[in-house]
Assembly symmetry: C2
Homo-oligomer: 417 residues x 2
């Protein structure tokens, strides 16, 4: 274990103790100071970012990755604006969640407290550095940032600016720690820092998340992978179904709440499948269908689906389509291939909607709406740490409370057992 | 990975889908049937248990372990009574935790749901088999029981009876699964069953829990280890302090909420330490003190403490004692050596109590009460799955809601983004 890393983790843990005691006002002042720091240092950030972009280009990575890595004035101002928005959100820390008295006279209060130290593991986007630092500080947590080595210069510059900005506030600069190099080896060490980290949050592709879940002994908030389905039931309104599936698939295909598989009731499909799929074809979506899909929409360009397609998160203009005999079969299909993220039924039959919403095991289950709504902002949370696909602690879109725990305060007058 | 184990896990997962849909009444009927099954089969259980006890005696294990392993009429009837008590508790599943509408007309409900499949890993106590099965079924979860091989005959017989009892109810018998042999190798496979298990709960000694936390890729609810402190402040009432520390240390020393280290304010100690410790000496408690403890209580039999003593969960009639200059130093000591379980301050000064309860990072923080109250029954939860010492999901005593998650049900009328 690298001593430098342990030193950073220790400092984060110490800072967390101070941070946990600060008032909302003091934390908000720090966030505003961080926003001002970014706004006053656009040029040096872009300069540092240029080094990362040059290195990325030299190593021949994809244009998509270079886009995610690239900063400009607007993106930096957006990061600062994000911090200002977090200022405006209510502070969950200190909230008394419950309180009650026991027959022996003990008074018990369940009070919301920060988690302590949050480890973030993420890929090329330098905006996550600011985002994670802002959300952590608002909730009274220190953060150990496991940014990727590909964004090292950008992250180092941003973190230096944020820490400088904290110098004028009550929040200790040590509350924000950045890995020395962000190498895979260093990130792997984070996964074993149980003594210092209270939670690890991986943000990025499926590979990154799987690797963290499989190897971390620190508790993990698993986020992200969404193989989302829409099931069009026997009584679906055609126009509504067209709009919902077109939106779910094409409004932003690269995100986790985009729709990946369409399930269609067979009776309904016999009369409506071609019309349902037509708008998708016009939008350039590649359709991969089961044999019956090809049979019921013979005039459309549909590729035969492989078994692998049912389990694939395409994140692209590609949709798998399967004909199913009933809502029960749709539920079984989702149970087999879904990732417990977002699932939707389009139906006019209340009974089938109820069955689907009860039986489908996912963070968000929809009746007559697009899967694209699974999002902290769309839910009205004002911020989003990520979308949890696990069942412990937090499920679905995670707002600020997901970065908190609670403690019991017990007030006695000498009680013993 | 053993195919038998995967088969059991698959069956549990299927059963969980059925179980999640059952009404409280149907689940309660199953629990009552399980209780009746145990009551009607005392002799065969004791017979099976005798085989485990004989094997344990032949392998020369401690008497304490043999005691934990041993069943008799009373213990079996207690297990059945425990199931009947769970029947009387409210069912958390189905509770609407929150609901709200969005400007676009979407209605969102946050509804409590079962976790799915719970993996329990535990040591020799066969009563945990019944306990875990009962709590899981009440909360709509299937359970995969990782009982120790030392209790295999007892567990097999108990599980067979419980599953038989379910035959007459709506709860599938497959909702209760027991490992084939409970060997370490088989238990280790449980830790990687992410596809089937939603959570793992280790119940047992510190070694077992550490091993599960370090090696599991399934999310873990960490329970148990308690290095609990009582700090006696400068304004403490002597009699109250005597009672609280004597209770914390001696009422049941082998449990996790027993007190392990006493911290005493120096000014107060100068006048009161001998009197404070006298009742402990009379109860046969071995005291291990810092140099100042020996100085301020020169007439008492106190062994010099080693550094290791401050971090030790003695679980016995042994108490470490340290003199500290202030409440702040007491908090620092606890921050360094505590396990975030239960910590108490005895003081008449409200300001110091507030400081201690705010700054000490533990599941339960007490003012003028014994640490022994950290317990699901003492908190009024009616049941206890364990005491969480982690901060994710559940902290402190865990009642039935700790075995649940939630999902969002979203009701639309064709909304798209």
């Amino acid at each position: 274990m690298s001593e430098q890393l342990i030193e950073k983790a220790k400092k984060a843990k110490e800072a967390a103790l101070t941070l946990a005691m600060l008032s909302t006002e003091e934390k908000n002042k720090a966030l505003l100071s961080m926003a001002e720091g970014l706004e006053a240092n656009i040029a040096p950030i872009i300069e540092a970012n240029a080094l990362d972009i040059e290195a990325a280009k030299n190593s021949g990575v994809s244009n998509a990755l270079i886009d995610r890595l690239s900063l400009n004035d607007t993106r930096i101002l957006d990061m600062a604006a994000g911090l200002r928005q977090v200022v405006s959100l209510p502070d969950p820390v200190g909230e008394v969640l419950e309180s009650w008295s026991r027959p022996n006279g003990l008074n018990i209060e369940k009070v919301r407290v920060p988690l302590g130290v949050i480890g973030m593991i993420y890929e090329a986007r330098p905006n996550v550095t600011v985002d994670a630092a802002g959300l952590s500080i608002k909730t009274g947590n220190a953060v150990l940032l496991g940014g990727s080595s590909s964004a090292l210069h950008s992250n180092q510059k941003i973190v230096a600016i944020l820490r400088d900005s904290l110098g004028k506030t009550q929040v200790p600069a040590e509350a924000i720690q950045l890995l020395e190099e962000g190498t895979r080896e260093e990130v792997n060490q984070l996964l074993k820092l149980n003594e210092y980290l209270d939670v690890l949050i991986p943000r990025g592709g499926a590979g990154l998340i799987r690797s963290v879940v499989e190897n971390s002994s620190v508790p993990v908030l698993e986020t992200g992978v969404g193989n989302c389905h829409i099931y069009v039931d026997e009584t679906a309104n055609l126009e509504m179904a067209q709009q919902i599936i077109t939106n779910g698939k094409t409004q932003r295909p690269a995100v986790c709440n985009a729709t990946e598989t369409l399930l269609v009731n067979e009776e309904w499909a016999k009369h409506n499948l071609t019309q349902l799929l037509q708008p998708l074809v016009e939008k350039g979506v590649e359709l991969r269908g089961c044999p019956k899909t090809l049979e019921y929409a013979p005039t459309l360009p549909i590729i035969p689906a492989t078994d692998e397609d049912w389990g694939t998160e395409f994140l692209d203009y590609t949709l798998a389509v399967s004909i199913v005999p009933s809502v029960q079969e749709a539920i079984s299909h989702i149970s087999k291939y879904g990732t417990k993220h977002s699932e939707s039924i389009v139906t006019e039959k209340q009974q089938n909607a109820d069955l689907f919403l009860s039986q489908v095991d996912a963070a968000a289950v929809y009746h007559n709406a697009s899967t694209r709504f699974t999002d902290g902002f769309e839910f009205g949370f004002g911020a989003e740490i990520g979308i949890s696909t696990q069942k412990l602690h937090a499920r679905g879109p995670m707002g600020l409370p997901a970065l908190t725990s609670y403690k019991y305060k017990i007030f006695g007058t000498g009680q013993i057992r």
